[in-house]
Symmetry: C2
Subunit: 249 residues, 2 copies
């Protein structure tokens, strides 16, 4: 099996209200990629958030006393801490200057996904999309309408991990495929019945795409070709662990 | 930027003492892949462990009273629990029938990487390589000697994650590249100085390769071509978080 991953550059700076599917399709054309059946489109969260207006001007944020106190202790911007708390439904860890929270989507990550990089204007931060699965579904529908091909869409963002250094890209929005490939009940080549093997393919696809997207180049999307998936109406919510199973709440 | 990932199948069942680099190079030839400078070779932990004889016959394991007690409570094989404990230097969580431990390498994972899938014989389990960075370095050296090209080697294994369902492949052994791409101090396209961005590219490369390797097909290796890395003497130890920074010990 062989897969190819192509970075889609040539996407102009995205502004709130922009036609993101249109910008991506133009980017594909400029990058020499014509979308085909079987392709998977991976899009950086940052441009989805920008297009949806999920951008906050910190000068308009009044931090709470709690945010101020924490920010002062750790040398952070109290307005940014305030935004992180507003984007969170629960604090998981708040120590050593690191703030790990659970977002409204159920994602556990640093700073609730609030981020100042790759945003023009030094007071501006982006938030995660309000409903990143719905964002993926909308983009997929418009791409299908205009390009005539139904391509799964993954919205990716970089998350840290417990116990390991560095961030990797994972899927925060999915439309058009199952994010988990459940092999339980199937047998390996030696006849061993697999009882625990569920592969988070949407996260692996997001990580694979990051390799061509990067953080410094203006390459906020990628097309993965040749990966054998089954079309289905999955969502990134299926990647969120049930609290009853979670041992690191 | 474009990368291609090609699965290397046609690798015979690996036995203890087998010449693994030789089997992989034959597999490359049979899969139509001629290794080139710039390629990255990703190899499944399972075949590395088998070649190194890191295989245990559970019939020869005498479980401790502690292992027996835990196994009985959760319906597990006490001999397998015993092997997991012997492979661990610390238990991180032991609850709900799940045993998450820290291995001698510092990796935190379920069952210390002890696994019964893809091993012939129903009483057999594989352990992680004793020193997976050394394994990667040895394979790289032999491949360089025989194929005349110095190709980074990543040994990958599938790990679960906190807060998210499903497993993904990550790097447990690295030779020939830096596993972390440290962008701190660099500026994004808007001039924002990145202060926290360190990307675990070895883990992303392992996840990308998993997409062509799978668990059911006999495809235990992959070649990644076109990824722009800097050759360097990095190891997977750099991916292990310093306990002083770790908030989920």
């Amino acid at each position: 099996m062989q897969i190819t991953i192509t970075g889609i550059s040539n996407i102009a700076e995205v502004q709130p209200g922009n036609d993101l599917p249109g910008l991506i399709l133009s980017g594909c054309e400029a990058s020499g990629v014509e979308l085909q059946a079987g392709d998977i489109l991976v899009i950086a969260q940052k441009i989805v958030s920008k297009a949806e207006g999920q951008v906050v001007d910190l000068r308009e944020v009044e931090p709470s006393p709690f945010a101020k106190q924490y920010a002062e202790k750790w040398g952070k911007d109290p307005r940014q801490i305030e935004v992180v708390l507003r984007e969170s439904k629960r604090v998981v860890r708040m120590d050593k200057g690191v703030l790990i929270t659970e977002t409204r989507h159920g994602f556990v990550c640093a700073n609730a996904g609030v981020d100042a990089s790759n945003v023009p204007g030094e007071h501006m931060v982006t938030l995660l999309p309000v409903d990143s699965d719905a964002s993926a579904a909308r983009i997929r529908a418009v791409v299908k309408d205009r390009a005539g091909v139904d391509v799964p869409v993954i919205i990716s963002d970089s998350f840290g991990r417990t116990w390991r250094n560095g961030i990797i890209n994972i899927a925060i929005g999915v439309s058009g495929l199952m994010p988990l490939n459940d092999l339980r009940g199937q047998k390996d080549q030696h006849g061993y019945l697999m009882h625990a093997t569920v592969i988070a393919i949407a996260d692996e696809l997001a990580s694979a795409a990051e390799l061509v997207m990067g953080k410094l180049a203006a390459c906020p999307a990628a097309v993965i070709r040749g990966y054998n998936y089954e079309p289905a109406e999955g969502t990134a919510q299926e990647l969120v662990m049930d609290p009853a199973r979670d041992m690191f709440r």
